[in-house]
């Protein structure tokens, strides 16, 4: 009888531990995970402007590595936003870098070709990538 009691207690403890681990599950680390899809900024935007629903199912929530030329860099509160050039007049691919990421690449400037990895959240006027990290600077 006593043994069953200990078993139940043990199961409860393990259960509580697993529940806590799940509750505190960390966010996906973009830097440590490989990209699901690699594209150029141009193709990424074209896919979204052509058929947004289809592009949503293809790109949303995925880690995207996107190659392109920087048209604009904005800094605010230790965070940087980089826009990548496309052939479209209005839209571009906008990458929201994680905190402090721009320090690692302090020498980035407009006109430079870069590859940036981030999670795609969708398309408004631009395709938006969040939690971005820099990959290559040529």
């Amino acid at each position: 009888m006593k043994k069953i009691g200990i078993d139940i207690l043990l199961i409860c403890l393990i259960g509580a531990f697993i529940a806590r681990e799940m509750y505190n599950k960390p966010h996906i680390n973009v830097a440590e995970n490989p990209a699901d899809i690699s594209v150029t900024a141009n193709i990424l935007l074209a896919d979204f402007s052509l058929d947004e629903t289809k592009a949503n199912s293809k790109y949303l929530d995925k880690i995207i590595a996107v190659k392109g030329t920087i048209t604009n860099i904005e800094f605010n509160a230790e965070k940087a936003t980089i826009s990548l050039q496309t052939e479209d007049d209005f839209g571009s691919v906008v990458c929201y870098l994680v905190k402090d990421e721009f320090k690692k690449s302090a020498e980035i400037k407009e006109g430079q070709e870069v590859e940036i990895k981030g999670i795609c959240t969708g398309f408004l006027m631009d395709v938006i990538l969040v939690k971005c990290v820099m990959m290559h600077i040529k």
């Binding site: 509750y23 996906i28 949303l60 959240t121 408004l124 938006i128």
Partner: protein
């Protein structure tokens, strides 16, 4: 003197009418807050697109649901998969009119914005109070309001009913800049 000032005001109005001025931000902030005795849940979205047409006082906002960032990954997952179903409804939108927008100049004014808020595939008519500051090169809006989850057909399973509030506080801050084509 009076004629001169009338002339200048007239000139000012004409230049405004001609401009078809649009103000825009791609980095609007919207956050929400759910408060219960068990748990507070908070998420922020810094990629909100908002456009104000200065001539007509109309505004339009588009929000990507997946751009809401939570402190806990599990909360974000539940929010997207179970509650707002962001795969099915990736965007929330608001379209409305800023009442008396043409009378605002320079100083901060509290104004009502009347329009339709669409989220989770459901559209509701709402009136939102905002503090608006309008200058030549900036239209700034801040404010907060409450939404009822049931109004938008967002179902909360009874098992977590006590940790998610039915009334969610939504705060926003938009700094619209003149839009150059």
């Amino acid at each position: 003197m009076k004629i001169l000032s009338t002339f200048f005001i007239g000139l000012f109005l004409v230049s405004f009418a001609n401009g078809q001025e649009r103000f825009l931000t791609k980095k609007g902030m919207i956050s929400f807050f759910s408060e219960t005795p068990i748990e507070n849940i908070e998420a922020q979205n810094n990629q909100v697109l908002s456009i104000v047409d200065a001539t007509s006082g109309k505004m339009a906002i588009a929000i990507l649901m997946k751009s809401f960032m939570f402190k806990k990954a599990l909360m974000q997952e539940h929010f997207n998969e179970n509650y707002v179903e962001s795969d099915k409804y990736p965007k929330a939108t608001f379209k409305g009119d800023i009442l008396d927008f043409d009378k605002m100049v320079g100083i901060e004014t509290t104004a009502s914005i009347k329009g339709n808020l669409t989220m989770h595939g459901v559209t509701n008519e709402t009136t939102i109070e905002a503090v608006i500051k309008r200058t030549v090169d900036l239209v700034e809006m801040t404010g907060d309001f409450f939404i009822n989850l049931s109004d938008f057909d967002v179902k909360i399973p009874s098992i977590v009913k006590n940790s998610i509030s039915q009334k969610i506080k939504v705060s926003f801050r938009f700094q619209h800049k003149p839009y150059k084509k």
